[in-house]
Point group: C2
């Protein structure tokens, strides 16, 4: 199996009896999910997506990616939350966090519309100067403030550079199938559109055109990505805690939460996982962080962060557990060479690959942290490639759904995200919010 | 004052009485720190550093930076933990997180030796191909595994490209004043060296040559940086909870910790703060995360992460509080223009700057999150520049020292970092670790 849960280091923290005790609850969560009778059942499209996805649209995504690769130096992806995290995570993992700096035969890819920072947007604009650009705008409604403002600015820039017609051939919108202001604009201007399915929420959307188009532009094989996800769909279809690693992972995190842990630290040993960590944090944080519940999702890249957060993990408040992604092979290896004078005392490593050293660092850290009282769950992967990533994504998605039902929440909504938006609109003077505005401004004045 | 603590939103969470109750403890912590009689008193060099720093060496740093800017396309900085976070944080904050991508008249700056990932190191090497490179190796001892291995590889690369003599003129070492294997190597090979003072720990070292040389190479005014820190040193010299915002911040975080909060989320509204967040996490996590104590340090950049972590903050487990960095002006502004057909419904924002929108998003979020039961401490800054950053750094350093004494720990050691290193050495077969190796390997086999 492409992703396996190794729970050998959990014995000191969770007993077999506890796993047996939660088994019926997992069965119940499984049945809720697969019967479509659980909370949030309007948003279960991700469950069979790896088998049932729209094959014709998939080919259209591939073709669009090919065109963008052939006529663009830069692709600017405009989206926020689930409309950018998955694509960025996949590209950095499969290619590199330094993707835009490295020499390559695919376009640079910049993400915009995921912040209200004018300085950042201005810099992305400056990186487009004098280069051929395509735009992928990703928004279900078209009215989300951050991407809508960025799109206003970039559309103007594109039309100034290319004229309205050629700009229209370089603007790709991933949006609602039939409704919403972005869809209307596309129809009016002739932008090519791709569909965000109605029954797939933002944080579960990386395997829809939301993620697929940018990932394909980066030169990744999105067919293999879907194959990996489909393999995971089959692997985790049965309700069996012993053999369903995705469910066992969900069970452990709920047991640890009920035993008082507050924080899950997702750890990897390769910098290229940093944005996958962020994708994970949205998936679990937004699915479970409600009704006063949920594990706070945090992340680290070791050994880098062993020199910043390592002290806390080893010996600070015992509020956390770690989920460690262990990858056998990842990218090129480099050999440690013999130094004639061994000035740094590291000749005992000579003729070993750095990845072997990295692996021993991981093993040593797992032993040290469990010794220090931090439960460690290990997710083992043999390699980093499209297939394995598709598998990993689905592993986490299914674990998240079952984990949310175990916790007793609706894993598919996000009502808390509206709070700041309403306040922001009121403070910005949006028509209809006049009374709220007065109240909020009074509060700000203390 | 360049950084001010606004605690107007704390009224619902911490009473004036509680602040008064902790006041004598703050006085005690202040006296411990300034008398040099507290735990970790060998490492108080940072306290008066902004006044007492070595002015001659400071000029040497400036001169070296000038030479590097004149003869190099790339500076590779080799260091881990405190030997890279401060410099990277300052450069990204003062210049840009896209610094290496943007057009500029200063060298690209890549950080290496902060990971055991061979793939990452190989990519940094590839970015140096065909370009003029200088190297800044930062390590107190010279034996820390990650930077030492990277230095082995980069030194060989430099000598192959430039020959031993010219390579020596392009290698700059920031290390111990007199001892350590790196210092010996520098003396032997004639590398220019800069001093890591004995009494300044890694996470407090950004205002020593550790941080100053890379920051100066990026074209930042390190004189202004020190001026800002010196202003903060003076501003926070007195033991007065009411007027010493650094101490009041330390007091609040301890009160919140004692009331059961487990996580501090450091928040900013500009992507350029992302690495400052990481610097902060090391400073507080490593200083306080010991003896089973400490707040888990986490971070976010809003509004980006309001679309991933926002749900949790608004409505998940009430385990956290937020410290929000609020900056009045930051970088270039962009104007929202009127759209003739207002397709996205955002014309009510027309003719406002995006930074005004960003500001209202912040105010709206603070009100929503406090309403949701999350205490919010606000750190107000007027601008982002060298002076303000120096002030902010010292603000956090002094708060951290006092906060650690309030918590009842030694804020200046990090004994827990050794655990994984010992295990790693044993597993890698370092001579002298034979018995431990056998024990660990038995554990790994389960």
């Amino acid at each position: 199996m492409a992703v396996r849960l190794n729970d050998a280091y959990m014995k000191a923290f969770v007993s077999q009896k506890e796993l047996e005790a939660i088994r019926p609850q997992v069965t119940c969560a499984h049945q809720l999910l697969h019967s479509g009778k659980g909370l949030g059942n309007d948003f279960l499209g991700w469950l069979d997506l790896p088998r049932d996805y729209d094959k014709a649209e998939f080919e259209a995504v591939r073709k669009a990616a090919e065109k963008i690769r052939s006529d663009s130096d830069v692709l600017v992806v405009i989206g926020i939350g689930g409309s950018y995290l998955g694509a960025r995570a996949a590209i950095e993992l499969l290619k590199s966090p330094l993707y835009n700096n490295l020499k390559k035969d695919t376009p640079d890819i910049y993400f915009a519309g995921n912040t209200l920072s004018a300085g950042y947007l201005d810099e992305v604009l400056s990186l487009c100067e004098g280069r051929d650009v395509s735009l992928n705008v990703i928004s279900k409604s078209g009215t989300t403030t951050e991407p809508a403002l960025a799109f206003r600015i970039f559309r103007e820039w594109m039309e100034a550079k290319y004229g309205k017609e050629e700009a229209a051939r370089r603007i790709y919108c991933t949006t609602d199938r039939s409704e919403g202001t972005l869809k209307e604009l596309c129809d009016k201007n002739g932008y090519q559109t791709f569909v965000i399915p109605d029954d797939v929420g933002g944080r579960f959307s990386v395997l829809t055109p939301v993620g697929l188009l940018p990932i394909a532009v980066a030169g990744c094989d999105i067919g293999k990505l879907m194959e990996g996800a489909e393999a995971a769909r089959q692997a985790f279809a049965e309700d069996d805690l012993t053999h369903n690693d995705s469910y066992r992972y969900a069970a452990y995190r709920n047991i640890l939460s009920r035993k008082g842990k507050s924080v899950e630290l997702l750890v990897s040993y390769e910098p290229r996982f940093a944005m996958m960590n962020e994708w994970f944090k949205q998936l679990f944080g937004e699915s479970e962080g409600k009704d006063g519940k949920g594990l706070f999702p945090a992340s680290a890249v070791f050994s880098t962060d062993l020199h910043s957060l390592g002290q806390f993990v080893q010996d600070g408040s015992r509020v956390l557990f770690e989920t460690v992604i262990s990858v056998k092979g990842c990218g090129k290896d480099l050999l440690v060479k013999e130094e004639p004078d061994d000035f740094d005392g590291l000749n005992f490593l000579s003729n070993q690959g750095m990845s072997a050293v990295n692996r021993k660092a991981m093993e040593g850290t797992i032993l040290a942290h469990t010794q220090g009282g931090v439960p460690n769950l290990i997710l083992e992967m043999d390699a980093v490639n499209e297939y394995e990533l598709g598998f990993l994504i689905y592993f986490f998605e299914k674990a998240c759904a079952v984990s949310g039902y175990l916790l007793g929440v609706n894993p598919f909504d996000q009502p808390g995200v509206e709070g700041y938006k309403k306040n922001m609109f009121a403070l910005l003077g949006k028509p209809g919010y006049e009374q709220q505005r007065a109240e909020l401004e009074a509060k700000l004045k203390g």
